[in-house]
């Protein structure tokens, strides 16, 4: 098997590269993960991807867990471990060197400029994630309505997001959505 056909290899190289572009965290990288896992490599179906996203949102801990789930779907436990490390290590190394540089740069105006410049990028990516997930999940008008209502409730109240997820799950279980 050549290295570019080995799923574990392409899994690790893909996520290692992705981790450097994931401005705004794993949730902002959802469209790219979807593109790679569903459209390019056909590692998962649309439904499996949506389920992996749902499980990662329900689980305690960082949102990067979706990467663990994709890795497991591709190559079992080795895939889960490999994908997660690939997603975390490069970006941690990068963050370490960038923060060391920032600490030395003193009164330079660039850190603040770059921080301000990253804000619209990460919001745009997050919005793209919302669209990709909504397209994967909302197959009926009722489902789309649930998405809209959750968005409004979460944006305007301090209701615990976990409850909103669980209510969505209960509606699904009951066969409403």
């Amino acid at each position: 098997m050549s290295s570019d056909q080995d799923p574990l290899f392409s899994l690790i190289s893909t996520f290692a590269l992705l981790s450097l572009f994931a401005i705004g965290g794993a949730n902002a990288a959802v469209p790219e993960m979807h593109r790679i896992a569903v459209d390019v490599h056909h590692w998962m179906t649309e439904k499996q991807f949506a389920d992996a996203f749902a499980i990662s949102q329900l689980s305690p801990g960082p949102n990067v867990l979706i990467v663990t789930l994709i890795g497991y779907a591709v190559a079992g436990v080795a895939g889960a471990l490999g994908a997660t490390l690939a997603m975390c290590v490069p970006t941690a190394v990068l963050a370490y060197f960038v923060s060391r540089r920032l600490a030395r740069s003193g009164a330079s105006r660039w850190p603040a400029v770059i921080r301000a410049a990253l804000v619209p990028l990460s919001i745009g990516l997050m919005a793209a994630s919302g669209l990709v997930v909504a397209q994967a999940a909302d197959k009926t008008w009722l489902a789309a309505l649930v998405t809209v209502i959750v968005a409004i409730v979460a944006a305007t109240t301090r209701f615990n997001p976990l409850w909103l997820l669980l209510i969505g799950g209960a509606l699904g279980f009951a066969g409403v959505i």
């Binding site: 499980i55 889960a80 209960a170 699904g172």
Partner: protein
């Protein structure tokens, strides 16, 4: 992580069970709503400060990645320098 790997293994075994499929679909609908609400909250300061150009960059990234499904790396290699130029110019003007 061990917990999630366990969840993944459970999903591999029970993912085809209909009740579970429906429940997860419901969770995903709600999760999409949470993402949208996070976007609204993060956008609020940009809207309040009338950062039109940065909002345009945001919209362009959204369309390129969410709609056109372009590769993330290329989109950012184009959008990041533009965004940095805009924020740099804005800061120079403010100073």
């Amino acid at each position: 992580m061990a917990l999630v790997t366990l969840l993944a293994a459970l999903y591999a075994h029970f993912g085809e069970v209909d009740a579970l499929r429906r429940s997860l679909a419901g969770v995903t609908c709600a999760a999409a709503g949470l993402l949208i609400s996070a976007v609204v909250r993060m956008m609020a300061p940009l809207v309040k400060k009338r950062e039109i150009l940065l909002l345009l960059v945001m919209a362009a990234v959204f369309v390129a990645v969410g709609w056109l499904r372009l590769p993330l790396a290329w989109v950012l290699l184009v959008a990041a320098p533009i965004s940095i130029a805009i924020s740099s110019a804005a800061r120079r003007q403010a100073a």
